[in-house]
């Protein structure tokens, strides 16, 4: 595919030029390389011309940087030294790379025992300070430029070997390598096509940063008198000579030092830009499929629903969560309105990108930076929880609201006992004594069906199974007797038999304590098991707010119906294909003017494409945002 490879090169070049450090570092290296080639030809003679009459002069028009002790022009010397300095550093890096990378990769791909021995050997070699090893080697082979290059090359080999083996080990465990092996890709092609391209980026950076280190290391050896010997000179050698008269003519030392530092920086930045440029993931951030939210949708004012039967526990009105992005504002949650009554269990169902998790996080005031939360009204027990953050508000939320996350293992601190963690909310928010809090923790853990809770207080999270960890998280949430539990996919990481247990626990908590639950899930079956009312979200908007009975028999929004039909259940007709939803959720660059679902809706009319429907009441406790549902 020559066309493809040509475009690969073009895109690589474009990405390189776009990288913040690409152009300056590339220019700097180009200048250095040019100097390395032409400087000795142009100024080699001048750089070596001694003139004892003008020894140690300060900068002057004749000698822009002054002269050294032997009256040689410092500017031409510094420029001329570029060739030798760079050549030595590159040669040392080449030795380290050529020895180290194959050593590391073969070690990583060797049989298990050989691999373990090889990795240990590399670690032992790494334990040696490189510069000491280099000094030792130069002492053996004799102080010369070649000796220094050889020594530094050997000294840097373990670093390359270690990096290459670590990278190859991690890539070797990926599914795409397993997939290639199943396809029958041979070892050489596996290495060339699947392993090397995926470790090249990091190795590239390493080559350039190692060159910078080698430059410094060789200069150090020269400085110690172990590297370049007069009359040859590199920047390190010039440093030796300059430092001797530093107080009289500081430029003599500063000029080569500046070159060493500048070259090091240029090499580092160039390597980084090159690595970015060769990674196709970074070529076209605008084409990535990550953005699935709506953007700058016309704001439609929807009246907040008036809950029947007493005051609302939670009232959410005009809730909008947005994130800045290079393409403009991404609206993850778009003008959402709903309320929860005390002791009610309400579900939010939707696919990824529907905004269900951001809605939950906004209620708990946990939307991550740089997200922006706006709401006309956000109240819990009548108290404004969207107000400016105060200690009192934090304490209020800490006591009245509990959160349960999807992954219990990630939410529990592995270094603290279960008892300490479950008891903590009461200690922090109720100022309970530790012993009393632990007693309460044991009671709460019993309520969520953790057997022998007293004995388990002292155990660590890893001693709990996934289902037990999730129940411990729920017990923690119960410590302050909250009025609302927000549970974000609490059973998604669990097995189906354990999921059933956790759902039963949530049900019994609701029955015993009258705790309201807002359950977020992609699984409409889980929602139907426990919720009395369901909010269906799509592209950041609530498209339907429906009592459970109507959800099953008369969903009003075509998306709700499609979502139910798309999921096979234990009664699905196996002879018929599953109903699918054609197309994809709206892209943020092309958020439609009308209904967000119109493009995928089989019943969409002209109006649906042009005008955004608001969430309207269409029956008792039943709202839908659909032109077809509202007469």
């Amino acid at each position: 595919m020559t066309a493809a490879s040509a475009s690969t090169w073009r895109q690589t070049l474009r990405a390189f030029l776009r990288a913040p450090s690409g152009i300056p570092a590339g220019l700097a290296l180009a200048v250095l390389l040019t100097l390395a080639i032409v400087a000795p030809l142009l100024w080699g003679a001048a750089a070596n011309k001694t003139n004892i009459m003008h020894s140690g002069e300060a900068p002057s028009p004749a000698h822009l940087l002054g002269t050294d002790r032997l009256g040689r022009d410092l500017l031409t010397r510094t420029l001329t030294a570029t060739r030798l300095s760079l050549a030595l550093a590159l040669a040392a890096t080449a030795i380290a790379g050529v020895l180290g990378v194959p050593l590391g990769i073969t070690t990583a791909l060797a049989a298990p025992r050989l691999r373990a021995a090889g990795l240990r050997l590399i670690d032992v070699l790494l334990g040696f300070p490189g510069i000491l090893l280099a000094i030792f080697i130069t002492a053996m082979v004799g102080a010369s430029a070649q000796g220094a290059v050889f020594a530094i090359g050997i000294a840097f080999t373990p670093e390359f070997a270690r990096l290459a083996s670590t990278l190859a080990l991690s890539v070797g465990g990926r599914d795409y390598v397993a997939a290639a092996r199943v396809l029958g890709v041979g070892p050489a092609a596996l290495l060339r096509r699947h392993v090397l391209p995926n470790i090249a980026e990091t190795l590239t950076i390493a080559v350039f940063s190692t060159t910078a280190s080698a430059l410094i290391a060789i200069s150090s050896l020269s400085f110690l008198g172990l590297g370049v010997q007069p009359p040859q000179f590199d920047w390190g050698r010039m440093l030796v000579e300059g430092v001797e008269s530093f107080y009289a003519t500081p430029v003599a030392a500063l000029a080569p030092a500046t070159m060493i530092a500048g070259t090091g920086l240029a090499l580092g930045f160039f390597g980084e830009a090159l690595a970015r440029a060769t990674n196709p993931l970074l070529w076209s951030p605008l084409e990535s499929a990550r953005t699935r939210f709506g953007i700058d949708a016309p704001s439609v004012t929807t009246p907040a629903d008036a809950p029947e039967g007493g005051p609302a526990l939670l009232r959410v009105s005009g809730l909008t969560v947005s994130f800045p992005s290079p393409r403009g504002r991404i609206i993850a949650v778009d003008n959402v309105n709903f309320s929860l009554r005390p002791a009610e269990i309400v579900g939010i169902v939707g696919e990824s990108g529907s905004g269900k998790t951001q809605t939950a996080l906004a209620i708990a005031r946990l939307v991550a930076h740089p997200g922006c939360v706006e709401a006309r009204q956000l109240t819990l027990e009548g108290r404004d929880i969207a107000a400016a953050r105060t200690v009192a508000l934090d304490r209020f939320l800490g006591r009245r609201l509990a959160l349960v996350y999807q992954d219990p293992m990630a939410s529990l601190n592995p270094a603290l006992t279960i008892g300490t963690q479950v008891a903590e909310p009461a200690i922090v928010h109720q100022r309970m004594k530790r012993s009393a809090a632990l007693r309460t923790a044991a009671v709460r853990m019993g309520e969520v069906n953790i057997p022998q809770p007293d004995a388990r207080l002292g155990q660590f999270p890893h001693e709990f199974s996934g289902g037990m960890q999730q129940r411990a998280m729920i017990a923690m949430g119960l410590m302050n007797e909250p009025t609302l539990i927000v549970a974000d996919e609490p059973t998604t990481a669990l097995d189906v038999t354990i999921q059933a247990q956790v759902i039963d626990v949530l049900k019994s908590i609701n029955a015993q304590h009258g705790t309201a639950i807002l359950l977020i899930s992609h699984n409409i079956g889980v929602i139907a098991e426990i919720c009395s009312r369901v909010l269906v979200m799509y592209a950041g908007r609530i498209v339907e707010d429906v009592p459970l009975a109507s959800l099953l028999h008369r969903p009003a929004h075509p998306y709700t119906q499609a979502l139910i039909d798309a999921v096979p259940d234990l009664g699905s007709d196996r002879a018929r294909p599953l109903r699918t939803i054609e197309g994809r959720a709206p892209d943020l660059a092309a958020m439609p003017a009308g209904c967000a679902f119109a493009a995928r809706c089989s019943q969409a009319a002209d109006r649906c494409h042009q005008q955004r429907p608001s969430l309207q009441s269409i029956g008792p406790r039943h709202r839908a945002a659909c032109w077809l549902a509202t007469p």
């Binding site: 493809a4 997939a179 354990i498 196996r574």
Partner: protein, 334 residues
């Protein structure tokens, strides 16, 4: 002669004291053009078994035959036979495609290995045809994996497996990383292609409804063993093993559930230290925990028996299971 036949397959991990069998003697066959569903919870060994079938995991006992040829821990020609005949689609489409390889190259690589006689021009046409077959734009051959959505990547992974021409495909949880509406399109696509190409599928999932929808025969796996195996309709309408019945009861339903569900107490035991005798006895809702007369479950490992056409079960008391559960079903909930 089945396209895929497993006899007494055992897979042990580790050595000495810490060794344990993740798969402890599994018999399983996939017939031509059939889908064999394998369902189980985490730790049941279903993914280990999948990796063993495609040769990614060494087998420590039993044998795996592909169209009559023994491919157990295959090397050389037997391995080539396995690669030609059995392919796999992995769970996570974000991990199973090389991020540095364009879509067309991923398929082209499979074609180059398995259909090396194709000239380059035909190979490109074949790549385009495969992309079209799985519902992707043939012009997307030049795109990188990250430019596809999760569902599109899984289509690409399916196309890559199909490119080899293998008649058997192992599908390990292929929709669990996808949204439900995307899952439906992938399942429909697989069923269409299977019919067109008479593929034999080993379909592995933790989702019973999905397995039921896809499979002709279903095996239920628990701690490294198959506890029940039957034609799909039989297994879902008349399950006999208490574990199968508890699994079915645990599936959340959209309609109102009928009667008290059979709930399993406790946790899935550690597969590194499975219970003695019947490996399910510690959680069994009709076993020795609730019925003292059934001590044999603790000491004796049940042998698999044929109880109906294609219906096999490993339970000492399968005949009595249905009757017993109505008595204590409610009491054992949690």
């Amino acid at each position: 002669m089945n396209p895929l036949d497993l006899r007494g397959v055992q897979i042990r991990y580790g050595r000495g004291q810490t060794a344990f069998a993740a798969v402890a003697g599994v018999d399983l066959a996939v017939a031509v053009g059939q889908t064999h569903g394998l369902v189980g919870e985490s730790g049941s060994g279903k993914s280990t078994l999948a990796r063993a079938v495609v040769g990614l995991q060494p087998v420590t006992g039993g044998c795996i035959r592909v169209s009559g040829t023994d491919v157990t821990n295959a090397r050389g020609p037997a391995l080539a036979h396995l690669r030609r005949r059995v392919q796999m689609v992995f769970q996570n489409p974000y991990a199973s495609l090389n991020p540095r390889m364009r879509a067309g190259d991923a398929i082209g690589e499979a074609l180059r290995i398995h259909r090396s006689d194709l000239p380059a021009a035909t190979r490109e046409r074949e790549t385009a045809d495969l992309l079209a077959l799985v519902g992707l734009d043939p012009a997307s051959a030049g795109r990188w994996p990250h430019q596809f959505s999760g569902g599109q990547r899984q289509r690409l992974a399916i196309a890559r497996a199909l490119a080899t021409g293998a008649p058997v495909i192992v599908l390990d949880e292929i929709t669990s990383a996808l949204d439900v509406s995307v899952q439906a399109t992938i399942l429909n696509l697989l069923r269409d292609i299977q019919r067109q190409r008479r593929l034999s599928l080993l379909f592995i999932s933790h989702d019973l409804a999905v397995v039921r929808y896809m499979s002709d025969v279903v095996s239920v796996m628990h701690l490294g063993r198959i506890v029940e195996s039957a034609p799909t309709d039989t297994l879902f309408s008349a399950p006999l093993h208490p574990y199968t019945r508890a699994l079915l009861d645990a599936v959340p339903r959209l309609g109102a559930p009928t009667g008290a569900p059979l709930r399993l107490a406790g946790e899935v035991p550690d597969p590194r230290a499975p219970p003695s005798g019947c490996r399910f006895h510690s959680r069994c809702p009709v076993g020795p925990q609730v019925n003292a007369a059934r001590q044999s479950c603790i000491s004796n490992d049940p042998v698999e028996q044929l109880v109906g056409p294609g219906h096999r079960i490993a339970c000492h008391f399968h005949g009595l299971a249905a009757a017993a559960s109505t008595v204590d079903g409610g009491a054992t909930a949690l």
